[in-house]
Subunit: 98 residues, 2 copies
């Protein structure tokens, strides 16, 4: 698999981890997401790009896991809000002034 839709990735996480994620529950899975975001921050602070790459993967994986047990379609959520122009100023590129 060289290229993947957000939806396909979320489905892959469902196949791999739904049984564990649903047992752990939303709060616990959210805490894992927070931990992974923390690890991403540490890798970026150390300017360790290889480590950061792995942490980016983990963050999107845990986000997808959390979306699965929350019953949310991550791709639809992303596309509904970000459909080619900034949701606030309606322009591309964004021209918000704040």
């Amino acid at each position: 698999m060289n290229t993947v839709h957000i939806m396909e990735f979320q489905e892959m996480m469902k196949s791999l981890y739904f049984h564990r994620d649903s047992e752990r529950g939303i709060k616990g899975t959210y805490e894992w997401l927070v931990d992974e975001v923390g690890e991403l921050g540490e890798a970026l602070e150390k300017k360790d790009i290889d480590a950061a790459e792995k942490e980016f993967a983990d963050v999107i994986a845990w986000l997808a896991s959390l979306a699965n047990i929350t019953g949310i379609d991550l791709e639809r959520a992303a596309v509904n809000k970000y459909s080619g122009k900034c949701p606030k100023c309606q322009k591309s590129p964004c021209q918000c002034t704040f």
Copy 2:
């Protein structure tokens, strides 16, 4: 756009926000990501699914923005680590015992 590759979504974020994200820098953009993850947590705690859906969109958007200014391909990172089986136990579904 009804369905989107992770890469396309990251490119859309680049078109929309790269000029702002690169000016703000990695640290500031990471802090925005952390804030959005916090907002997601609040929405989930209130069991507000509509709000949570918007926050899921914001988290993946800020993750893509951060990947853009870090020079990381989010889709490649995700697919390299999660290619159909658990990276730890190599099985689908995951059968890790911990």
